[in-house]
Symmetry: C2
Subunit: 232 residues, 2 copies
């Protein structure tokens, strides 16, 4: 039996590691895709590499992107990362990166064609998330519609399918599912501002959402923190 081929967008965080484990549990042959896009927290790429290796993916590509489109964000520029925000606000936070998922999925679309991959997995979530426009269901639907038209494979009636299995899950549900799949979340790094030894801050949005998710499952987050919300 030929295994189906999938590209999995892998940042090295909790969500993308969960979708990687999901794709592998569906017996797909995986190419993991990571991006160096000018993010300050490049440690996530080391984590992505270790995670891809741990899961024995067929191939792990780290794509270098010109940082020009991604300017203006506190993830890419010398601006403070928001801390200790309670819940999700209506405002899009400064950690928003312009057109990031549009660019990532576009690159994946090209690679899917050359790799003959029928599936693209992306770990976006629209429940416990930071309000980024390109993490919403309507964005994913619109990208699927674009993918249905954009490529030679699409014209031949075989566009890649965009999978966003975490889209409607809470962070707690994601962690529960990943734990069932045997993921050691200690490998993952979600923090927007880890220190040089790889310890997470515990107070950025990514850490806050993650810690709440573990707490809701009655679990302790195995990530290393230099300070947790619980210390406050």
């Amino acid at each position: 039996m030929n295994r189906e081929r999938a590209l999995v967008l892998l940042s090295g965080g909790l969500d993308s590691t969960t979708i990687l484990a999901m794709a592998i549990s569906e017996h797909m042959e995986v190419t993991a895709l990571s991006f160096r896009y000018g993010q300050k927290h490049t440690q996530e790429l080391d984590r992505a590499e270790a995670i891809a290796k741990h899961f024995g993916v067929k191939e792990h590509l780290i794509i270098d992107l010109d940082p020009e489109p991604f300017r203006g964000s506190s993830l890419t520029e010398d601006k403070p990362i928001p801390e200790n925000r309670k819940g999700i606000s209506d405002q899009i936070p400064s950690t928003y990166v312009p057109a990031r998922n549009t660019v990532f999925l576009s690159i994946a679309l090209g690679i899917a064609e050359s790799r003959e991959a029928d599936h693209i997995f992306i770990g976006v979530n629209s429940v416990d998330y930071s309000g980024y426009p390109d993490c919403r269901p309507e964005f994913i639907e619109a990208f699927q519609h674009l993918a249905n038209l954009a490529t030679k494979n699409a014209v031949k009636g075989n566009p890649p399918r965009i999978h966003a299995p975490l889209l409607y899950m809470t962070k707690a549900e994601i962690i529960k599912r990943g734990t069932e799949l045997g993921i050691d979340y200690g490998m993952t790094l979600s923090c927007y501002q880890p220190n040089s030894t790889g310890e997470s801050c515990g107070i950025c949005d990514a850490c806050t959402l993650r810690l709440e998710g573990f707490r809701a499952n009655g679990l302790t987050d195995p990530a290393r923190y230099r300070k947790t919300s619980d210390d406050d």
Copy 2:
């Protein structure tokens, strides 16, 4: 009066130079965007630079892209460029580049946000073209729909507008319009396989379409050719 800002995708060819002239004729403040994506015919980037300078654009960005998504094309790999094809065939030719316009427009979407540009111009054409899926009206519509959802500016009700003014024009009409705008098409390079002195082949699809367009206008193409279809 504040001038409206536009990004113009500029390859250095006939079509993109025409839309640059059109954007400027509409008094827009232009940032020209070119891409180094692994194309063999990198001379087009020198032309794009000269053209941007000639038109006095505010800024010209050449974005370096990892060639990974664009593999498999005869424009990026050591494969022969189709020659002497008559008319447009139903087959997508080997010069098709996977997801190229999707990636280019995605990058433009990010840059439009940081540059506060409300307009993105792309010189796609669905009449005298090579059958590329990402040059069709439905592709441009789908990308506009995506752009209406993807970014912070979109959420604020201000997505950039994608302009494809050449979409329904014949090559002859494009050349007529550009000539009216005073373009010296001798500056432009359309050929997929120019020689080292910048002479066009005259027999690839890009040259064939271009030569027919000038002929239909009763004009001589000012580009330098090492061999034209007329010589056959």
